[in-house]
């Protein structure tokens, strides 16, 4: 009985059902949704950084030598690349935060949110373009 209602003539054979529990597709948002996702990711990332940063700075209370040892471990190329990511996260999070304030407080803010998002991305790219050559030169060129 369960499989009784045979499909009437169809243009193409209907494939057997495939189980896909919980495999619904990703919601396809636009700039607004992805700016929020980026804001969340950079926000959580910056929080974790600050947590570590407070701890390593607190080492100076233990002794200046311990502090120097801890900070010394950061002077690796991997940490250098992560620092570049940190700066990018700070810049995006700061500018997008201003965008959110304008969306909330300006009467015309919501209407220009998409433009403002691309301005945020543009400013982030420009500032990173100024920062990256010098920073990566220091990290990989052995400046200091």
């Amino acid at each position: 009985m369960a499989s009784a209602p045979a499909a009437p003539p169809s243009p193409a054979p209907v494939p057997a059902p495939r189980s896909s529990r919980g495999r619904s597709t990703l919601y396809r948002g636009t700039e607004g949704m992805w700016s929020w996702v980026l804001h969340r990711i950079t926000g959580v990332g910056l929080f974790l950084f600050l947590l570590v940063h407070v701890l390593d700075t607190a080492m100076v209370r233990v002794s200046p030598e311990v502090y120097n040892d801890v900070i010394g471990t950061y002077k690796t190329p991997i940490m250098g690349v992560m620092e570049a990511g940190l700066v990018a996260a700070v810049i995006f999070h700061a500018f997008n935060g201003i965008r959110i304030i304008l969306v909330d407080f300006l009467a015309k803010g919501p209407r220009y949110q998409r433009v403002m998002f691309w301005v945020v991305i543009g400013l982030t790219v420009v500032l990173m373009a100024g920062f990256l050559p010098r920073h990566l030169g220091n990290v990989f060129g052995g400046g200091h």
Partner: protein
Amino acid sequence: MTATLENPQTEMGAIPSFQVTMRVERFDPESGSGSYWQEFTLTMHGTDRVLDALHQIKWDLDGSLAFRRSCAHGVCGSDAMRINGRNRLACKTLLKDLDLDKPVVVEPIKGLPVKKDLIVDMEPFFASYREVMPFLVTTGNQPSRERLQSVEQRAVFDDTTKCILCAACTTSCPVFWSDGQYFGPAAIVNAHRFIFDSRDEGAQQRLQILNDKEGVWRCRTTFNCTEACPRGIEITKAIAEVKRAIVTRSF
């Protein structure tokens, strides 16, 4: 006679027809096997909408497919579903506007419990709608004539009068997916419609209801609701106006 009958048929051929693959998420609560995808290949015309494709599946291929629709012309708001990853009304989405090289993916709207196939339980949605008192609140005796309003006073909340309660906005909201207690964009839109109505006297009460952890402050301005609204309501703007009203009227 036959010649005159054949002519309109060749005229009919003038409407471009094409093959469409519909990929529909199915769920039968009685089978106990969870949800699964089912594909149907149909021959549709340039004038057909996603709803017409679903009709063809239900009427000609698989009568067990369940979905809601009432007016079928974008007025009643019963056939909101996720089409190619975005909330749309099936009756307002033309097939020819979609990318037909890939299957058209149709899923139920997100964040509400699925009852069967594309039908979701709308009760949580309407519960938060009722909570914002979506009706005129006045005090004193009824006036003997109509309550007058200027064009400017009406224009303030004109946008939010267009809501058809299809739930496309509320179920496009990432906050609502993870926190079902959030009022959701639709409830706030319908509160906005009365808060800014010069004839209404219940604004303070509604602002108090929405000035809540699960009220307007849950909005993260992702603009998914504004993008999803089939009536083109600027929902995020309306929510921002309610936020500002709470802040300015409490001082």
